[in-house]
């Protein structure tokens, strides 16, 4: 029985490491959004198991141990010293094992989040009450005017598909926070410091950056579109945008 268990564990380890290696070789850049989804699924399973155990026990006991008569009293066990310690140590070891497992997974996911790929394109982000400004490596800027007329609102953050984007961010006035739901990233921006996040647009998509740190009356309207478009279109857009800016 023990041998079989050991053999099965060995096989499981080999297979799982092969899967991990295979998934690593398909793309050299680890996408934080993918890592996030994976970790989220793992944690959800964990939650449902723990919630299920406690919830099912509570429901079962609430049903089973209803008072049989008005003057019935509980028959709860009197624990010996050894039982008391066991009921402390065993759950703690189990919780600790789970914590360390989640912690280890969380740490490696975190490393993905904080390690910017070498080929990443840099965009400077400046938050101020209440809009976002994006400055590209060649000095071209882009922004978005929430209340502007259609066609004059601006383009927001435009990025090419297939290139990781690193954002170096700051603020001119109060705290803001730069969050893009689609790419599962978020970080505060503040005056006097530069913070960073990076994300990896792998396909054409339009999403939003929203301000997620409270910043006053128009906090809820401090958003801008994030457009991931093919490289050629992006190059054209950048030239067009630079020209527009020269005219302004």
């Amino acid at each position: 029985m023990k041998k079989m268990l050991a053999a099965l564990t060995g096989i499981a380890l080999v297979v799982s490491s092969a899967i991990v290696m295979a998934s690593e070789t398909t793309d050299t850049i680890k996408d934080p959004a993918v890592v996030w989804e994976h970790l989220w699924t793992e944690v959800l399973i964990d939650l449902y198991i723990m919630g299920g155990i406690f919830g099912a026990l509570a429901i079962y006991w609430l049903f089973k141990y209803r008072a049989k008569s008005p003057d019935a009293v509980g028959e709860g066990p009197t624990l010996t010293r050894a039982q008391r310690w066991s009921w402390a140590i065993v759950p703690c070891v189990l919780f600790l094992a789970d914590d360390l497992y989640l912690g280890a997974m969380g740490w490696s996911a975190w490393n993905v989040y904080r390690t910017v790929p070498e080929n990443a394109m840099e965009v400077k982000v400046t938050g101020s009450m209440w809009n976002w400004e994006f400055e590209y490596e060649d000095g071209t800027t882009s922004t978005y005017d929430v209340d502007g007329d259609e066609g004059e609102k601006g383009d927001g953050l435009v990025v090419p598909v297939g290139t990781p984007v690193v954002l170096r961010m700051t603020s001119t006035d109060v705290l803001h926070s730069f969050g893009i739901t689609k790419y599962r990233v978020k970080e505060d921006v503040m005056p006097g410091r530069i913070t960073y996040i990076w994300f990896y647009p792998k396909e054409e998509a339009e999403s939003f950056v929203t301000c997620v740190e409270f910043c006053g009356a128009n906090h809820a309207r401090m958003y801008a579109p994030v457009k991931a478009i093919p490289q050629e279109q992006y190059d054209k857009w950048l030239v067009k945008r630079a020209k527009e800016e020269a005219e302004e």
Partner: protein
């Protein structure tokens, strides 16, 4: 409160040093704060229930008034309802009774603390009357709180007054428990509610001064021209956030521990059972929480731009909170095992708390993990999480406490039919309100948004949440009316209607008179408050 004295002697109430009357004054004040903050909650839900301005003519007004509601709702619920409701009302009234004491150690300091508490509530309410009320959220982060046109001073002075009241209460009750236990009562014979408030007061005593310092620096920055938090003059924006959460995370346990303490009492009484694994619950669970509470605050700053190493370090310490909280949960759920369970109204609230505790506690685990938090932080998910565990769970335990001790405080019985209707409205309502917020939070709905034109797909769920909030409003009105009506016109209750073994039920009348006990309480060495088999 007794039937003989229909005419209320205001002078006696205001200048009382009786811990029971002070407890009642804490209850009235905190329920008043709860009522006003609850109205804010309804307004918030209505504003969000449809896209665009719902309760204002234009967007700017909508945003401004919405922010003031958010500020008051958060500040009042936490500082003026939950903390005073649990440590002010419940501890004040029942802690001396549970340890067999005639009063607290310093009755006049106790009176001073309730006055400060009332002054704090008045200052907070004045925020609505002045033309530029605070709009800085209950967190008051600079630079916004310094640059804002809102009157930050009202926020600072509210915190000062309520904080001072808390510190006085903490010293008072710790001394009371240490020196005034009935002869023969050892540390392992205390009610778990007593232990839970002791641990909560230790946290208050250690951490409240840090909050007071932080908001005082804020006041100086805004009105006296200092630069503690101004980076352009060598200050540090993040300093405030660190100081604030260094107190305000432990403050969560100041709420959680007494709320759990109440549940141990209620669950033990209505299961007629001893609390499972008492010593581990106290020394592992409660003191474990105290020990870790001061090392986890950075999980509120996961996306604030803190150094990488501390975000990982405090991810581990935050996950480790599951150890003591797990032990507390095992003791709570384990108390049901082989019990003789009946489902009176306080027990209904307690059982619903088990569910709220599971939902709120478990949804904290993904938030503890830094990488997951980079998406979940500042969304409706986090909003729903802390409402489950801190808002609703703790509120329901206060309600369980009021119903459980209602016969003791008034000598009357509450109206069970209306109480039960109120309970179901509350319980269904909170879940209809907050379960959808988990869903749209994971999908990206940001917090503190009066409008969400970039995410129109969330409108339906916001509308559902508003319907839930209306159910809760109805339930709360019925509940509070039930208390008031029953206090005047309820059926007389016996001294120990639940057949509890705890001193406040077995050794005194309902309601207890001045001095609490007719003769001095002495307990023998194998007495415990949960000994139902004898």
């Amino acid at each position: 409160m007794s039937a003989q004295s229909e005419k209320i002697n205001w002078y006696e109430w205001i200048f009382t040093t009786d811990h029971k009357r002070i407890g009642v004054m804490y209850l009235i004040g905190s329920i008043a704060a709860f009522g006003v903050a609850g109205i804010m909650a309804i307004l918030i839900r209505i504003e969000q229930s449809s896209l665009g301005p719902t309760l204002a003519a234009d967007g700017l007004t909508a945003g401004q008034q919405y922010n003031q509601w958010l500020y008051f709702h958060g500040a009042a619920m936490i500082l003026a309802f939950l903390i005073p409701g649990l440590t002010g009302f419940a501890a004040n009234y029942f802690l001396p009774l549970m340890i067999g004491a005639a009063d607290v150690a310093f009755p006049r300091i106790n009176a001073l603390s309730v006055w400060l508490f009332w002054c704090g509530i008045i200052v907070a309410l004045l925020g609505f009357v002045i033309p530029d009320g605070p709009d800085i959220m209950w967190t008051g982060y600079p630079p916004y709180s310094i640059l804002s046109g809102g009157n930050t001073a009202f926020y600072v002075f509210t915190v000062h007054l309520l904080g001072f009241a808390s510190i006085l209460g903490a010293v008072n009750f710790l001394v009371t428990v240490i020196y005034m236990r009935a002869p023969g009562m050892g540390w392992n014979q205390l009610n778990l509610f007593v232990w839970s408030t002791v641990t909560a007061f230790v946290i208050q005593l250690v951490f409240v001064p840090v909050l007071a310092a932080a908001v005082t620096m804020l006041l100086f920055d805004k009105y006296l021209g200092t630069h503690f938090f101004d980076p352009s003059a060598g200050g540090d924006v993040l300093l405030y956030q660190n100081l604030f959460w260094f107190y305000s995370h432990p403050a969560v346990y100041v709420i959680l521990l007494p709320a759990l303490g109440i549940l141990y009492e209620v669950v033990a009484t209505f299961s007629k059972n001893k609390v499972f694994n008492y010593k581990v619950c106290v020394y592992g669970g409660m003191w474990g929480v105290v020990l870790i509470s001061g090392e986890v605050w950075v999980h509120h700053l996961y996306v604030s731009g803190m150094p990488n190493w501390i975000r990982i370090g405090q991810m581990i310490s935050t996950l480790l909170i599951s150890l003591p909280v797990g032990l507390l949960a095992i003791s709570l759920f384990g108390t049901l095992y082989k019990g003789a369970i009946t489902f009176e109204l306080p027990m209904k609230y307690a059982v619903s708390c088990l569910f709220l505790f599971l939902v709120g506690g478990l949804t904290g685990i993904p938030l503890a993990i830094t990488a997951l938090d980079l998406h979940l932080s500042e969304t409706s998910f986090i909003h729903a999480h802390f409402h489950y565990i801190m808002g609703i769970f703790a509120t329901f335990s206060v309600f369980a406490a009021v119903y459980y001790w209602f016969p003791k405080m008034t000598g009357k019985m509450y109206d069970d039919k209306w109480g039960t209707i109120g309970f179901w409205l509350n319980f269904v309502g909170v879940n209809v309100t907050f379960l959808p917020l988990f869903k749209i939070g994971v999908e990206g709905m940001p917090r503190r948004y009066w409008n969400y034109e970039m995410y129109p797909q969330f409108e339906t769920w916001h509308f559902v949440a508003m319907l839930g909030a209306i159910l809760v409003a109805a339930g709360m009105i019925i509940t509070v009316l039930n208390w008031i009506m029953s206090a005047y016109k309820g059926e007389p209750a016996s001294d120990n209607p639940w057949n509890s073994k705890s001193l406040e039920w077995t050794h005194t009348v309902s309601p207890p008179g001045p001095g609490n006990f007719l003769k001095d309480v002495v307990v023998d060495k194998d007495w415990t408050p949960y000994d139902y088999r004898k």
